[in-house]
Amino acid sequence: MSVPGWRALLVFALLAALPLAPGMSRYYLLLAFDALLFGAIAMSLDLLMGYTGLVSFGHAAFYGLGAYATAILMERGVQSVWACIGAALLVVGLYALVVSYFATARRGIYFALLTLIFAEVVYTFFRYTQTFGGSDGIQGLPDATLAPGVLIDTPLRKYYLVLVYLAAAYATCRVVVASHFGRVLVAIRENEDRARFLGYNVQRYKMGACMISALLTGVGGAIYPMRSAFATPDLMLWTESGEFIISVMIGGLGTLVGPIIGGAFFTILRDKVSSVVDWYFIVIGGVLIVIVLFMPRGLLGLRQLFERRSGRAAA
């Protein structure tokens, strides 16, 4: 069993100390929140893309469903962080079970297509169902509570909430990747057919990877309304899925850490670019094309997963 090495601990310590940095205004703290949240979701997508070789074009649905789970509970007066996360796990888990079952039944390309189609249906459903607010979604949500009387109301508290989430998600991914299950995922990525001939029920493994990735993403989605105070159908747009994918690609497939950095980097890029430029999507598309053609390894590159040197498990 692998334990996060000292490098990871150091990074998390630094992140924990970030709010103390000079110039950390409310704006930057919330930007940091967005960056870490996006990074965590990109990392969970990497479990699917980088390690198992499955591209999910509908990951935004897991994210959005988590957000709506929180929003719906909060609308009805349930503000507990734990209740919201629990609800998100339930809802996203059920959805992911159905999607992954159909999407993994056939070879790789169907996964991409079916996740996309399912996500579109979910988006359409939420966009046009007035019970959930239609295109406006659910707005004006209150702050979440950690425990009775303990509100997560300041940017500082929200930041620490997402930091804990990121740490937990990272630890989970690290353990899974180093486990037997994780090794089989890599084998499936490398040669799915061969893995079957070794006695592995490949569909089950793919479903497992998809569920873990979806649940982690769903928790991230559940946390989002605790910062933004709303949940809208736009969270489930395929363009959002595209942004997750681009974060993974920027950071580097199969590295876990790379996508966190990629996600953070992309969040900040988006914040700067979309306010300046109207043709933001051309930039995204262009970046994707350039990365695929010239920098397929992303910033961190595809690393060897079967590291044998002990203590090398982190960062």
Binding site: R107, R196, D278, W279, I282, I284, G285, L288, V292
Partner: protein, 292 residues
């Protein structure tokens, strides 16, 4: 009886035309996937560009017919250039890269169209107006023309794939891409031509349908989603299956629209897909023997 003639039948005919257009798109996807190994996420955008290229050509020549000839060619060229400069580089890599590449291309094309022509809905006027009395109901001439045109196109394609050497080779290669190596053909040129031709056909469909629907940058997105469903239903690698499924979906879409709002129609189509996937996981005509 009145209902059947005045409402149901025209909608059915409309569904046939829509199904034919979907079939062109799905066929293009199937051929590109079978031959090049890439699922072309940008195919809907080629359809969309066909309509916009048509607008551009009509703007210059004021002739729909000239546009019908030139626009697909223009889009074909765009396709060829795209294939040569980008797709070609990812054939030997894991399939994941091709997916992401075409996804990126789709974004660029879509937003590019929006930048060039604006995001508003545009109209292409049908080249002729007027309607013809048919079975007790008047039917717009242009729609009749569409019926005829789509039948012709599909017939031509069928002849191409069954009677010409090139077509037979492509069809066989879709089933088994490796067989091309043994034939002594210039594989790179075949790939480029195939991609360009598929794009041109998609563009043709886009332009032909434009006077019936409106033209806007997102028009390709809805088509490609339906085309994906068609391909899943028809069974990957089966060209005949794709076309058959396209008609089923096209007619279903058309008929459902009579009775449900657009969102419910989408969910109904999706429901059809789920049911088929449960009952026949490989789709109508999926290839046996491919490790699914």
């Amino acid at each position: 009886m009145d209902y059947v003639l005045t409402i149901l039948l025209p909608q059915l005919l409309h569904g046939l035309v829509f199904g034919a257009a979907l079939g062109l798109l799905a066929l293009g996807l199937t051929v590109i996937f079978g031959l090049l190994g890439v699922m072309n996420f940008a195919h809907g955008e080629l359809y969309m560009l066909g309509a916009y290229a048509g607008i551009a050509v009509i703007g210059v020549t004021h002739s729909f017919w000239v546009a019908l000839l030139v626009a697909p060619l223009l889009v074909g060229v765009v396709g060829a250039v795209t294939e040569m400069t980008t797709l070609r580089l990812v054939y030997n890599r894991e399939p994941l890269y091709g997916l992401i590449l075409t996804f990126g291309l789709a974004l660029v094309f879509r937003e590019g169209a929006r930048q060039i022509w604006g995001g508003d809905m545009r109209r292409i006027l049908p080249p002729f107006t007027g309607s013809t009395p048919l079975l007790g109901m008047t039917y717009p001439d242009y729609r009749l023309f569409l019926l005829a045109a789509s039948s012709l196109i599909l017939l031509a394609l069928w002849l191409f794939f069954t009677r010409t050497r090139a077509g037979i080779v492509v069809r066989a290669a879709v089933q088994d891409a490796e067989m091309l190596d043994g034939l002594g053909v210039d594989v790179r040129r075949v790939f480029t031509l195939t991609f360009a031709a598929s794009g041109a056909l998609a563009a043709l469909a886009g332009l032909l349908l434009a006077p019936v629907f409106t033209v806007y940058p997102q028009m390709g997105v809805e088509m490609i989603l339906l085309a994906f469903i068609v391909v899943i239903l028809g069974g990957m690698g089966s060209m005949g299956g794709s076309v058959a499924a396209a008609f089923v979906i096209g007619i279903a879409q058309s008929l459902f629209s009579l009775w449900m709002n657009p969102q419910r129609v989408a969910i109904a189509i999706f429901g059809i897909m789920i049911v088929v996937l449960i009952v026949r996981p490989r789709g109508f005509a999926g290839r046996e023997g491919v490790l699914e």
